[in-house]
Every structure is written in structure tokens, then in C-alpha cells.
Amino acid sequence: MATKDVTITVVGSGGDGVVTLGELIAQVAAHEGLNVIKTEAYGPQIRGGESSCTVRVASSRIYSQGAAVDVLVVFSWNDYKRFRGEISVAPGAVILGEASEEPPSAEDLGVIGGDDLTFLQVPFAELSKTATGAPGSKNVVALGILGGLLGLPTEKLQRALARKFGRKKAAVLEAVGRAFQSGLEFAESRRKTFESRRLDYEPGPSRLLLSGNEAAAIGALHAGCRFFAGYPITPSSEILHFLGEWMPRAGGAFLQTEDELAAIGACIGASFAGVKSMTATSGPGLSLMIEMIGLASMAEVPVVIIDVQRGGPSTGNPTKSEQSDLLQSLFGTHGDAPKAVLACSDVEDCFHATVEAFNIAEEFQIPVLVLSDQAVGQRKETITSADMRHEVRDRRKPTEEELEEYERYRDTPTGVSPMSVPGMKKGMYQTNGLEHGEDGRPNSLYLTHETMNAKRYRKMWPIRDRYHSFRCFGPTRAEVGILCWGSSAGPVQEAVAAANARGESVAAFVPQMLYPFPKRDFERFAESVDELLIVELSYTAQFYKYLRTFLDLPAGRTHVFKRSGGKDLTAAEVSDEIEKVRARTARVEVAG
């Protein structure tokens, strides 16, 4: 009895190579054409502290990280303790503990996962020592064991290992090979125990294994972004790292600025000069960018800002995910400052949303925020290159006619005015963040202000018409309809599938476009369901509040499931909530 979907977690200390182990399994699985989601977690130390790596591998598509672990590898129970409460173990799981450590008591194990666990003491350190003379290759031993357990092809695992240690001496490589081999043999010796964890799959074309942050960075380059300025901040820094490497290769300019004020300023400057520009940050950095997002809005300069959300407020929980920068993104600026806001719900979506953000920014000369979060930004997930396609739109150059008596902020039916760039002889203008007339000159008359406010907001209608993107899951008519956004979509999608498989009728609506909101599409969805359930990770239910600003949510049949971030949403939580809604016990009351 093999499996089609298995979740493995490895726990150890800094030197244990936990992350390398997870990475190698994930890569080989991706290369086999399997579907993978890989996440990591660390204690507060930068190096040497506890770390864990979770890899879910499945033969068909998966949408969220496995919430319950089927195979748990523990190099150190001390480290495990620090993650307790964050790792839950599936019924019937296999647990491989370092043999040289005191095994957990039956009671402790019971707390971990009930009584139908298979617990094995594995001499990781000893096998490593025998093979290499040192205990440092425990992770390679474990790779052998897990490779055998999952039934991944041995040669691929070996090749991946060889690549990883490619630069080491031959003697080291050989020793590593022996460690791997001893792991394989251990697995072979437990064949019966492991049987139920063996992956049942057909190898397919190899897949890419990317993080959401990488996908977003690729999206930017794909969209033609040739200027990036940013300041490092967890959990967005991988975008900066990636573009630090690739932006010069793409012929663009990359600048690590002194702070976030400078980052957004440089992007606005570059875009004013005609080059597609982006920055990436997280909550505290977004807070610092707020003033100049307003400038971009007022001066109508296209710019893309990716906010990879983490736990807030203030410094908050920098390594945990949350969906609580929504209201700031929508309403954070002083004055009435239009901007568009998109969300990414998975790794692939990070690519698409970023490209779309550029399309909107450039076409409508407006700042566009892309809301990602730690959960999608830092997890790695399999996607195929074929999915990484997206139409690219460029900024429209002013026509010859428009350049005669050129007015930068001409009041047009769509609100979009001709935008020249330096170098255009007839297109010279001086802009500013003051209220200005059509010619761009400061003008504080009431009528100008009213007219220009209207012009700037008028863009929202064509944006909505063109970019009302959203996704739906489940049947076209349903008993329960879930409305969620961003990274909540994955667990919701799995819960929806599970519910329908159980014979219930549940659907979901996930807008990619948050503002302007695909209102009509949603209203149709709301009509098609009996009960509406809003799901989000924000203590004050920011999404629910936002929706209320412009939607009349169906009275008496709207329910809210919200909680703080800090641990990822699971399909099981959503399923529970679906049951509550069906039993009419869900809550609507919202704090804050």
C-alpha cells in the first residue's frame, strides 16, 4: 500500500545539514516530475540554532504545505522541542530518531502523535562515522534512508549528491557516497515498515523548484523591469539577492539602497526616466515607503512594490507569515492616493501577479502593490517552465500629435495621459507632488484639485474592466462559498476539494486583483452560494473590513474565519470551519 502524497520533516541543529537534506529530496522529486512544496523554519539564531525542513511530495498537484507529518526525522530531540506546537504528526507516521539520544518516552510520543506511530531509533551518527570517520554526514545517511523509503531513483539521488559536493576532494566524495549507501541499506532493512510511505507515481517531465520570491523576481525581469532598488528585509530579501545576481545579467541596474525611503525614491526616479522599476520589502519597509507611494500616485509614475508580508505590527514576527498589511496597502497613504493592489496565492502566482503589476503600472501610470507573504515568498514549489509565460504590456509613448502642445497630465476619458520621458525633445515637463494642472504646474485651486482627483481615480474603471482577475474552485452552485486571498488560497483549495469529495458542495472565490476589486464577478459568486465564509490570517479581519467598505455582504449568511498569523493556515482548519458554517455555528463578530 504505497502513497501518492507524503510529508517529511527533518529537525536538527545548525550543523546537521537539515536544509541540504530537504533540498536534495525536493530537487530529485522535482526532477522526477513530482509535485513538491518545501518549507524551512529556524530558531532565532542566525547560525547554529535549531532548524527544520519540511518537504511534501505528491504525484498530483498540491496547493499547500502538508500540515501533518508522515515521516519525521529527528537528529536531536532538544531541537525538536523548540518546534513543538509547530509540527504536528499524522496518525500512523514513521518517526526516525537519532539512536545515540535518549528516545522520547511513550508518553512524549503519545503527545506527538497518538499511539499508532512507528518509532525507530536510527544510528545516523554512527553510520556516518563508520562511512566517513565523522558524524557530520548524518544528513547524507538520512538521504539514503529517505530515498529508499520514498523509492526515489538511487542514481539521481547520487548524482544530486555529487553535484552538491562537487567541489570537494575525491576522498570526501567517496566517503559521502558510502554514507549514502549505508542509509539506503538501512532503508532496505526496514522495507516492510516503510512500504506504506513509498511513493506511487509515474515519472514525468522534470519541473522547476522555485520560491515565490524567486518567481516574483523572474516575473519582474520577464516584464521588462530593468531597475531594482531595495533594502534587505526578511522575508523578502531573496528577491533582492536574486536580482542582485540577475539584473546585471539582464543589462539592468541594481542598487542596494541605504533604506526603504531611498529604494522607492530611486524606483520612482528610474521610472520617470522611462525604465520599468520595482522594489521589494516587508511591512516595516512598506511603512517607510508610504510617503513616496503617494508621490508616485500624485505624479502618476508607474512603479511596482512587492510586499512580502510577515507578522506585525512593528518588527513583529519577521520569519512568520500573516495577511495583515492589506489595509495599509489599500489605505496607508495620506490624502486620496490611487494605487492598484494585487495578491499572489502561490509560487506561480508570484510570477504572474508581478508581471500583471507591471502591465497595470505601465499602462495606467500608477503605483501597483503586490502582496505576497512569507508563506508563498519563502516556500519552494514545483512549477513548469511552460507556466512561466505572461503577456507583457509596455508604457505607451506619446504620439507626435500629443507632443504638439504637450501636456503631461491632460485630462482624458480614461484618466491616462501621454507620458514622455527624458530625451523627447518636445516632451519636456516639470512634475511634482503638489496638486497640479494638466500642464503639471503647481495649482492649488479647488476646482483643479477636484478635477485631478477625478482624473486620477477614473483610471480605476478601465483597470477593473481589463484586469478583473480571480480564481474559482468547486461547483458553480454551492452550499458554502469561501472568499479568501493570497496564501490562504492553497489550504482553501484543498479543503474545497476534500469537502466536495466528501459529497458536500463547497466553492471558493480568490481574487488576484484586490483593488480595484472584481466586484461583479464576486457578486455573481455570492449569488451562487448559500453561505459565505471569509477566511484570512489577520487578527482584525482586515479583508472582511475592506470588503465591507464597498460590498453589501449578504446579511445573515456571511461568516468570518480569521486569526493571527504566525503559523500557516491548514486545509484542516478550513475544513473545520466549513463544517461550522454548515452547522450554523460560525462566528461573524470581529475585533478591532
Binding site: S206, E245, A263, I268, S385
Partner: protein, 293 residues
């Protein structure tokens, strides 16, 4: 960039004048700075459409509106951040940043530091009136200690800094001081600043008649001095000798060295990156990221 002798230059100072009338107070030093900029641009024969003048907020920061080039009057303190973006995105453009002492040293001090440190290829003209003009006369970081202003009714309890000293310690590769009351010299300084390959900082003493009274102009004029011809511009320590002076106002180029500019350094980076493999496309990236086993 200059024209052949005898020929009439194509661009006259007036060509750089926009048709917006400055709303500065009569007698404001910024008029002198503006006129000098128009003339410096003509001397350099800058193509207006390939020139960008960028500022923050303040009386002095209104200047870009009065120059017929591309212009961006941004938000308070952030002129140099905008300028960084413009210059790095389009290195072929001439970028001039302007603004006040408050804009550049109070709220914008950090960007001044880092633009200088990076040797960003812009000329930065700070119109220094030792006060916040636009917001009606509060003390600036350049206001002498003890002075009474709108915000320091009991006398300014803070010490002033010298913008030129800061610029040198920040890493600027060209640092000079001028005076809006000495336009001849100012034009020359502006020309040299714009021609300098790297970060060129010019502190333009520019009196505020409204909040510092008519005396400010007179006092500055009285203190005016010129660098001795023996001054070695490449000597940082020597340059520091002319900063924080109180009884004289030494004008001229205090410091000048040639170091790779940020644009040159980023070009270097791109070259290295291309050696690894041509200009990258999305397909190249994806190919490289595929798990190669």
C-alpha cells in the same frame, strides 16, 4: 561639450528659462542661483531634453519648475533618491539635484551621505540660507548656535554643521562653496560640478531676506574670501581646513579627486555578469534554475 570659438552657441541662457515666474520673495538669493544655473547650462550647451533637474521641497526646491528641461520637484528630503534612479536608469542623461539646507541636511541628510559615498554621477547644488524658508523661518542644521528663529525663541540650542565638511567625509569627490551674490564664480563652479564625473557637491550660500533679514547678505558678502592658489584640492586634510570657518567664507573648489563613479562601477558589474553568459532572457534564467541532476 563646449562650442567652437567664434560660433554662436546654439543654446542661450534664456533657452533654459521656463515660462513659470518664480514665486520667491524679492531679493531672495535663489534668484542668483537660478540665473547662474541657466548660464552654466548654456556654457555647457546641455540639451534641455537630455537634462533632468531634481529637487525636494522648500523655497529653493521650487527651482526645477523654472528650468526648461525635464524636472522633478519631489518630496521633502528625497531629491537625491530620485536622482539616483534617473541617473542609474539612464546614465546618458545629465542630472542636477538642487534643494535647501533643510531639505539636504535635516530630513535628507542620509541620502546626501550615501549618494556621496557611492560617488553617484550627479551635481548637487545646495542653496544654503541657514534657515527653513518655505515653512516660515525655523532653525536649520546650518543655523548658527544661539540664533533666535521661529522655532528657537530662546536661542538655538544646537550647533551648526558645515555642509562641505560633511560632503568630504561622506566621500564626495568634488566639493566647493559658492555664493549667490558672486554669480560669475558661481557659474564657473556649476559648470565644473556638472562636468565632474562623480558626485559633485556645491554649497551655494543663498540668503533668505525674509527670515534672516537683509543683514545675512551683507554679512556673507563681508566674509567672502577665496582659496589661496596654493591650495591642493586633492588633499582631504587641507580641504577640512576651510570647513567650519566662522569669520571668513572661503569660496572655490575645496576638494577634488577622481574615483570611479557609480555609473562606471555598475557598468563594471554588468560587464562581469555578461562574461558569465550574454544578455539573459527569461528562458535563460529558467534553464539555469532547472534542477540539473
Amino acid at each position: 561639450m563646449s562650442t567652437t570659438m567664434g560660433e554662436l552657441p546654439a543654446f542661450q541662457p534664456a533657452d533654459y528659462k521656463s515660462d513659470l515666474k518664480p514665486v520667491w520673495c524679492a531679493g531672495c538669493g535663489d534668484f542668483g542661483a537660478l540665473a547662474s544655473l541657466h548660464r552654466a547650462m548654456a556654457k555647457l550647451q546641455l540639451e534641455p531634453w537630455n537634462t533632468v533637474v531634481i529637487s525636494g521641497i522648500g523655497c529653493s526646491s521650487r527651482l526645477p519648475g523654472y528650468v526648461s528641461t525635464f524636472g522633478f520637484n519631489g518630496v521633502h528630503g528625497r531629491a537625491l533618491t530620485l536622482a539616483s534612479g534617473v541617473k542609474l536608469a539612464r546614465p546618458e542623461l545629465t542630472v542636477v539635484a538642487v534643494g535647501g539646507d533643510g531639505d539636504g541636511i535635516a530630513i535628507g541628510g542620509n541620502h546626501f551621505l550615501h549618494a556621496a559615498r557611492r560617488n553617484l554621477d550627479v551635481a548637487y547644488f545646495m542653496m544654503d540660507n541657514e534657515v527653513y524658508g518655505l515653512t516660515k523661518g525655523q532653525a536649520a542644521p546650518t543655523t548658527p548656535s544661539g540664533d533666535k528663529t521661529k522655532s528657537t525663541l530662546w536661542g538655538n540650542p544646537e550647533a551648526a554643521v558645515d555642509p562641505c565638511e560633511l560632503a568630504i567625509s561622506f566621500g564626495a569627490t568634488w566639493v566647493a562653496r559658492g555664493f549667490s551674490g558672486d554669480p560669475k564664480m558661481l557659474v564657473d563652479l556649476m559648470v565644473a560640478a556638472i562636468e565632474h564625473p562623480g558626485f559633485a557637491f556645491l554649497n551655494v550660500m543663498s540668503p533668505c531676506v525674509t527670515w534672516r533679514g537683509d543683514e545675512q547678505f551683507k554679512m556673507l558678502k563681508a566674509k567672502l574670501a577665496f582659496l589661496p592658489p596654493t591650495h591642493d584640492r586633492t588633499d582631504r586634510t587641507a580641504a577640512f581646513r576651510y570647513t567650519r570657518e566662522t569669520d571668513v567664507l572661503t569660496t572655490g573648489v575645496l576638494y577634488e579627486v577622481r574615483q570611479p563613479s557609480l555609473v562606471e562601477r555598475l557598468e563594471e558589474v554588468r560587464k562581469k555578469a555578461h562574461e558569465v553568459g550574454g544578455l539573459a532572457t527569461t528562458a535563460d534564467i529558467l534553464e539555469q534554475l532547472a534542477p540539473a541532476i
